[in-house]
Symmetry: C2
Subunit: 145 residues, 2 copies
DNA sequence: GACAGTCACTATCATTTTGCAAGCGACTCG
DNA sequence: CGAGTCGCTTGCAAAATGATAGTGACTGTC
């Protein structure tokens, strides 16, 4: 996956996965969100090979999820920050994490705490129209054409 | 990714991705949800090579997201159905789809319609504790140890 | 009962992607 | 000047993926 061209189907899930459909990309987004924005931080945190990290960062940049920003001119140093599209993906990470906790949650796990209430969050996907959790009501697929 | 052993970290996102962290797996779940439960249906719908499909199905089965069920003894025919863990992953698919629609949504796309209201769903991740959308409030990471 | 056809695969092999290890350029600090 | 850090690139081996062909268990049809 170069993060570039691909034949576009009519499935929005596919469209989403085109841009973040691999494991490293998602873990990179997670780490950037945790504040690990620099190359070396990402590399050591993820234990990823440098060439792979470079490629993933380039792909994510090309896909518009992250952007490179120079935070120091001398010495020249860059960091990677989430774009709006990248930030918008974070709730999905939270949902994946919740699922991982439920089905593979042995041992102590990292949590995200709501700063205001001090309580751990419990991410859940709902339909903004009905307010009902996705999965609780019957759905039907509607195809274009 | 064999879907089998891997060193467990403390990150629930990682735990989740261990089991579904590749593109085909996710698209397979989507298709099974759409009712394409049989090998040939999946193969033609996805345009995936048969060996790859077999491997993915085995991995998803091993990871407990789908289960093989014989729906005909003679001729011997199997289908793949979502387990509870697999069904529980579907809301995440919906969220990914919504993101894909927003950021890569050119052209006509498939939608999911709430059968009861007849309106397209708008998936959104909220914190079940506060009711607030994830992303709208400050969060802090809490690490074990 | 021989023969084409479907379904659900497996086997083989080329291509692609991933990953390890080493190195490199631009600097800073001592 | 020399060692050290950061942010990479290059070269090569290993692993995963994908195209193609083939196989076994049937069914349904002359």
């Amino acid at each position: 996956m170069t993060g570039q061209e691909e034949i576009l189907g009519s499935c929005p899930v596919d469209r989403g996965l085109m841009r973040v459909g691999d494991r490293w990309s998602i873990l990179i987004l997670r780490d950037i969100d945790r504040g690990l924005t620099r190359y070396e931080q990402l590399r050591t945190s993820l234990g990823i090979a440098p060439n792979i990290l470079s490629r993933r960062l380039a792909a994510l940049t090309g896909a518009g999820l992250i952007a490179k920003r120079r935070y120091s001119e001398r010495p020249p140093r860059d960091e990677y920050l989430l774009t709006e599209a990248g930030s918008d993906f974070l709730p999905i990470l939270a949902a994946i994490g919740e699922w991982g906790r439920k089905y593979n949650g042995a041992g102590a796990l990292t949590r995200q705490i709501d700063v205001e209430t001090g309580k751990p969050i419990r991410p859940m996907v709902i339909d903004a129209n009905s307010g009902a959790p996705i999965g609780s009501r019957a759905l039907r697929f509607e195809y274009p054409d």
